[in-house]
Symmetry: D2
Subunit: 356 residues, 4 copies
């Protein structure tokens, strides 16, 4: 089912941009896990709109209401369901989206798929709004993983053609605009401002690392850590590419350059380099699990674009009104972390079945 994912941990996401609520159900979290709702709220705020200059002006509280799965602040072993109410919805007329599909959006494909019955308001089920419940699930997993010594960090690796410099560190992840190099971060923000000024948008890359992983998580074939992470990351709107470790660059290397030699450090087996991104044969090797996701530029731009009117079946100009994020990447950072946390926690639960 397209709105559910996971084997040992099952996440289901529901809601549309303008339905009464969006939400999620998370099955499989064992009983007895204490949740800190302040920490969760702080995590969700990183994704919320209206926080700063580079995101849309729409302000939402995004405070989740938990409907089930808890006794006090502790999981009771049954499905966790939390919802976020959509407020101020249906306030304007979105019906044009049904007739003149926006380039780069799912308006046209939804019209075909749902035979015209789709909820088109605000992007419906395809809205970035649906990443809020993904972050609820991610935020829960992050708290549980942390108690197991596993942390997830990430950074903005690129905005447009401006790359971050230096290596991803835990300290980076705490920043408001998480880049290692503040100089590069400043250039990125300038590029976003420029795109906005030009009624345009810009894409970018998020890099994410999972630290503290034991070796032995994940499975061969279709449940490798790459497969598990890909299955969630490609569910984030606007992601068009994903690579692990050296990724596409490894395709240009010789085996002698790309192989990570095994070595001993303090009696522990490590690899001297980490071009495999901490994954061999789909299974973690104990080194940081590293991946990068490429985001296309926000398709909603103020510039006039060409589309086809589905009623008249004639080409025409489309002018999208309203304010949109000129760059989705900064707000996508916690969403990518959530995807990683969910995939890793599922693998961790699965690993327990193999313990002897």
């Amino acid at each position: 089912m397209s709105s559910s994912i996971g084997e040992n941990l099952r996440l289901t996401i529901f809601g549309q941009s303008h339905s009464p609520a969006v939400g999620m159900t998370l099955e499989g979290v064992p009983a007895g896990e204490n949740l800190d709702f302040d920490v969760l709220a702080a995590f969700l705020r990183r994704r919320a709109p209206g926080q700063n200059a580079w995101s849309t002006a729409r302000k939402e509280a995004d405070a989740p209401e938990f409907l089930s799965g808890l006794l006090g602040n502790t999981t009771c072993g049954t499905p966790l369901t939390a919802i976020i109410r959509n407020t101020d919805t249906r306030s304007k007329d979105y019906s044009a989206l049904k007739i003149t599909p926006r380039p780069g959006h799912a308006d046209f494909t939804a019209e075909v798929k749902y035979h015209g019955f789709q909820d088109f308001a605000g992007g419906g089920h395809f809205s970035g709004r649906l990443t809020a419940p993904l972050c609820i699930a991610g935020g829960i997993c992050l708290q549980i993983l942390k108690r197991e010594g596993i942390t997830v960090i990430s950074r903005i690796a690129a905005i447009g053609d401006i790359q971050d410099e230096g290596e991803l560190l835990s300290s980076t992840a705490g920043k408001n605009f998480p880049t290692v190099s503040d100089v590069q971060g400043e250039k990125m923000r300038a590029l976003i401002a420029e795109a906005r000024a030009e009624e345009d948008s810009v894409g970018g890359v998020v890099e994410c690392a999972v630290l503290g992983l034991p070796a032995g998580l994940g499975d061969p074939m279709f449940d490798g850590m790459e497969n598990r992470i890909a299955a969630i990351v490609f569910g984030i709107p606007a992601v068009k590419g994903l690579e692990f470790g050296a990724g596409f660059a490894s395709a240009t290397l010789r085996g002698s350059e790309n192989n990570d030699a095994f070595a001993l450090r303090d009696g522990k087996i490590v690899t001297e380099t980490n071009r495999c991104g901490g994954i061999l044969g789909g299974i973690t090797n104990g080194m940081p699990l590293v991946f990068r996701a490429a985001f296309k530029p926000t398709p909603s731009i103020a510039q006039s674009q060409r589309t086809v009117n589905l009623q008249t079946m004639e080409e025409e100009n489309l002018n999208i009104v309203g304010r949109h994020d000129p760059c989705i990447v900064p707000r996508a950072v916690p969403v990518v972390e959530s995807a990683a946390a969910i995939a890793v926690y599922d693998a961790l639960l699965g690993r327990r079945k193999e313990e002897r």
Copy 2:
């Protein structure tokens, strides 16, 4: 389960490099589909080793034996199971792999995951040999899709840092070494030969396109066409990156550059460009579905490498004997096509549930 994939079409792959057989079970193929076993055999030969200068010398018949699911040459609606016998197995001593894990291979992670009980001979369950049953399933799906007007083509887009030139065409796909530019193809083959001569290996990129797709296949969130293809492609050994349409390059573009304008051609809605790779919101838009998979260089190289002896817990040199593909990419081409065909046919079957 890690060896199974798919929702409407369920593929299960079994076997190890040196077990009595490898094989696959494909559930969900409707009754009444006629299979051409000569066409299937020809498809499997494209993946088989020992075909030419750039692959390993191991020769295998790779002729599948169908055990179930057929009445004559026609599917009868029950699970299709086919196996390929492994011959000449266990003929040499692989136990060193258990003690001195090869860099870039799953020897170490398998040792941890399976608590020392893994089948280490020839890479066990992690062997490229397991892509043979994947190609059986893929070959079946390709035949059925073709009757629906859907074809899958692909090319070697890069070997090392040598890129193919020109646009992927159906005619390319028929070539023995499928590149658009024969000049670039020649350079690629020279690079592979060079790597072999240097006791090294080299990686590359496969580009794949699905043509003739109707609009409306795939689902939002976790069952988008990207997710479905990624879930299988990352199950192919050595894949470390995947991108759709403009992929990582779209992250460097402005929205005005990246959006594909809708247009009319012969009364049909198309997009003027195809940077989205034929997928919007996870759903096909009727344009070619295009993706690229990055393969790391074959980790088995003849050069001496550093590893850790798991018995003595000391670092030591490892020399891998035997002959291996200096580049896996040419043989991976039909495997990538198989992944695409399986994902697309699953989506096509799922689409039927929505027809009114």
Copy 3:
């Protein structure tokens, strides 16, 4: 995952007896299905408590709030989520259930399974309250099936040792206390009243039939119609037995008595009898699909019972206070219909994949 069921239609149920809400998510309903909420409300009222003399006095509105999946009254193709608020919860002290588990309830097994972290209030996740969201899903499926000419009817086949007489008819299903024989129905009600007066409870049997089914629904092996229905029906609290067609009685028959001869009626292939309950090889044969579910007596009784105090680890008497249904069977009738409707609609969606 234990709170989810279904392949083409995926139902997830969440909530505890005293959590903020109970609810359900139904994935896989195609876009364009119009829902009549008055019809749904009337269906839910059949399950609601406080309706009459034989059920608990607790009154609940049980009005579902739909959070997603709709555009107006019509499904939009995305997950349908509906919740029912739990009101007046946590108003009394349930902690005794944790210490002195009630015989016949899940208090003890929940304590073991959830390591003491279970939500014990009102039975938590094991409460009959969770059948309310099951009925939301069932009520939706019933409306869609009806448009396909498929109806689900049922009756109280037995209360205690009093059996209904005559054959299940559509007209029976409309009754307030659905028995074919009003005389037997009157005796059943008297038995329930007697059990209540004696501070005891009584069990019974619900018989259900699905009419108007096409031949060819369901699958061999593990997705037969029996398996599909069993997978849901045994999720209804208190069900301890299930049989199809002649069921356990068929075990006492000769083959010559039990086989249903094929015959022609108005050019249509039928069977002269229906001892197979409309299912052969797991697949519908076009005759009514008939099954019976046995419900144990409500375990909550006012009489004193023996249990073990988990704190002192001593045996002691337990007196359950509060009012409970002396017989759950009448309220279970629409729950059984829901289980049938969900299973049949899933099979019907699956059938579409096989159409040529």
Copy 4:
């Protein structure tokens, strides 16, 4: 998928009665489990035909060949696949089954479902032959469970209207014709012989108990132990009813009679009676898990029967030639044990995820 079952342990069954082989793939068995193939062979012989007076004369070696998942006799953590070759198949003309469907068989429903493309020879995918691979999986699980102190025993509880007497014991399970009362067993055998002499068949009931289970296995709602067992047991051809503990009889009891009081025995919490069959709220309570499955009489009988000729669309007489089991129940005993073992082992693996 209809030929697969299980969540933590995934069983896939393939093959038709007259395809080259039948077989099974079992995913999820952890690495390091030693298998005794002599014990497995002895278990499979209990199901094999041609053993004695009450089964069909067809003799089959039924020796499984393991194709994958093992290193020597020990599981290596990857999918276990085993096949049994079908010999002497296609030796006669089965095409009449396609034209004149046998009452009580799946010939007619298969014709409709598979649009005439079904493999009709020997019952195809619906043949009891498919229980052989189910027993391979069951036999593997039984060996692993035994090492955990869990055993599965069963008996013939009834043949026709002759009931066994006394309580199911471990010693019963070892008998050739497993009844507690040898007197009743003799009567049952006489009834089978009588049915055979009259060119008829007879049904019966198998009772099964799982001993040594820890409390806490299974889940609420749809993954209760009842649901898990039902999902497999109803996949056994000819099963038409299933009940747990007191089952249908509990529907006739008062709560005060049916509730199992908790008590202490040697410091361990037990129940004084076991009418719940060891399951409360879907979860084991540490008492024996007990269930009974009702089998209809073998539909293949030598007596003339009425059917419809699908070509001429006229009613006609059908005479089935060949020898068939006059009673399938004795051979079904290990199949029922297999179903229980598979369901229990899956739950046991799932339980590990909840351990803290």
